[in-house]
C-alpha cells in the first residue's frame, strides 16, 4: 500500500483494516457497541466488507437491502440481493429487505422512465429513493445510527465534483457523521478513509462473495468519470485521494465552508402531508412527489 508506505501479509492485513475502521469510528464518534446500527447493504464489496468488519468488532448490526428492481439482462438487483442474503445467513445476521416494486408498485427503472428527473439521470432519482427508504427504515425501526459504506474514493469523487461546481451547500455537509435531527437518523461513514481498493482486497482475502457486475445504469456516470481521473493522479502520486479528503475535512473543521442561512439544512422543516417525513417545502416531499399520481396508500408504509 504505497499510499500508507506499508506492506502487509494476508494475516496482518485482515487485522489491520478492522483496526483502522475502529479507529475512525472512535475518532469521529460514529457509534458505540451499545447502539443499534443499521448497515445499508448493496451486495457489493464495500458494504459486505464493512458489515463483516463491524460484526467482527462486536457492533450490534442489522442490514438493510433495498431491491431496486434493476434487471439490465443480468438480474442485477436480484443477484445482488442473493449475495447479501447468503452473507447474512452464513453469519446468522439479520438482513431486512425492502422491495421497491412490492412497496411502491413500480421498480426504479419504471419510475425513471415516467419521470423527467429519472429519464435525465436515473442515478439521481435512485439516490433520492435510497436515501428516503434508508432514513425512514432507520427512524421507524428506532436504530441509533444508519451506516453506509461510502469509501474514500466515493468521498474524494463527490468532493471533486462539488469543488468543481463550488457547491457550497454540499461542501458544508461533507463530514463523515451527520447528526440526528427530528425526522432524520444519525448517518455515518466508517469507510470514509478506506480506499476502495483496500475494501475490495479485504473482501477477497476474506472469501466474501460479492456482486462483481456493475449496475447497468452506472455506465457513463459522473462519479466514475471523477474516480478515473483521481486514480490517474493516485497512480502518479500515491496518497493523493487521502490528502485531498483529509485536507478538506481539516478546512471544514476550521470553518472554511460555513453552513449558510438559506441552505437546506437550516430551512424550517415541514412534515410531508403524505408520509410525515421532514421536507423543506410546505407540500409533498420529493419522494412522495414521484408517486403523486399513484398516491401511495397508508398500507405501503415500510414499518408500521
Amino acid at each position: 500500500m504505497r499510499q500508507h508506505r506499508l506492506s502487509l501479509c494476508k494475516q496482518h492485513y485482515l487485522l489491520w483494516l478492522p483496526d483502522q475502521v475502529e479507529r475512525f469510528i472512535k475518532k469521529y464518534q460514529m457509534f458505540t457497541k451499545y447502539e443499534r446500527v443499521l448497515v445499508a447493504v448493496s451486495g457489493g464489496k464495500d458494504s459486505l466488507a464493512l458489515w463483516d468488519i463491524l460484526w467482527k468488532l462486536g457492533y450490534q448490526t442489522e442490514g438493510l437491502y433495498i431491491n431496486l428492481g434493476i434487471d439490465g439482462d443480468i438480474s442485477y438487483s436480484d443477484r445482488s440481493m442473493n449475495f447479501a442474503q447468503s452473507f447474512a445467513d452464513q453469519r446468522q445476521l439479520c438482513l431486512h429487505v425492502v422491495d421497491i416494486k412490492d412497496q411502491y408498485l413500480e421498480t426504479v427503472p419504471e419510475i425513471s422512465m415516467r419521470t423527467k428527473r429519472g429519464r435525465e439521470k436515473p442515478c439521481s432519482l435512485c439516490g433520492l429513493i435510497k436515501r428516503y427508504v434508508l432514513n425512514q427504515y432507520a427512524v421507524n425501526g428506532k436504530f441509533d445510527v444508519l451506516v453506509t459504506a461510502h469509501n474514500l474514493d466515493d468521498e474524494a469523487a463527490i468532493l471533486l465534483a462539488n469543488t468543481l461546481d463550488w457547491s457550497l451547500d454540499y461542501l458544508a455537509r461533507g463530514k463523515p457523521v451527520l447528526p440526528l435531527k427530528p425526522g432524520f437518523s444519525k448517518k455515518t461513514k466508517p469507510f470514509c478513509r478506506i480506499y476502495e481498493r483496500e475494501a475490495a482486497a479485504f473482501a477477497i482475502l476474506n472469501g466474501i462473495e460479492y456482486v462483481r457486475d456493475e449496475c447497468p445504469f452506472s455506465i457513463d456516470s459522473k462519479q466514475l468519470f471523477y474516480k478515473k481521473h483521481l486514480n490517474e493522479w493516485e497512480d502518479k502520486q500515491p496518497g493523493t485521494k487521502l490528502r485531498f479528503y483529509l485536507k478538506y475535512l481539516s478546512a471544514l473543521e476550521k470553518g472554511a465552508f460555513p453552513s449558510r442561512q438559506d441552505s437546506a439544512d437550516n430551512l424550517v422543516h415541514h412534515l410531508c402531508p403524505n408520509c410525515g417525513q421532514p421536507t423543506t417545502t410546505g407540500s409533498l416531499c420529493a419522494f412522495c412527489k414521484l408517486f403523486k399520481e399513484k398516491s401511495i396508500s397508508e398500507e405501503n408504509s415500510i414499518i408500521k
Binding site: 506492506s7 464489496k45 464495500d46 466515493d154 481498493r197 493516485e234
Partner: protein, 67 residues
C-alpha cells in the same frame, strides 16, 4: 526486446505481457490503473510490486464502482 511470456486477464480479455518485470510497470505500460485494480495469481492476491514470472496468468479485478 520485450519478452511476451506472461498473460494478464482483464474483463475476460487476454493480454500478452513481458515477465521478469514488476506488475505495476507492466500495468503502467498497458495503461491500466494500479489504483483501480487488484491482481490475482494462482488464486492469491498479489501486490503491484511483485515480479511477473514467465508463464504467469494474472487476473486483474476492477475495484471501482459507482453511480
Amino acid at each position: 526486446m520485450a519478452e511476451s511470456n506472461a498473460t494478464l486477464i482483464l474483463n475476460k480479455e487476454k493480454l500478452q505481457c513481458r515477465s521478469k518485470t514488476p506488475l505495476w510497470k507492466v500495468m503502467q505500460e498497458n495503461q491500466i490503473s494500479v489504483s483501480a485494480h487488484l491482481a490475482i495469481r494462482s488464486g492469491e492476491l498479489i501486490t503491484d510490486d511483485e515480479m511477473i514470472n514467465p508463464g504467469d496468468l494474472i487476473e486483474l479485478i476492477p475495484v471501482v464502482s459507482g453511480g
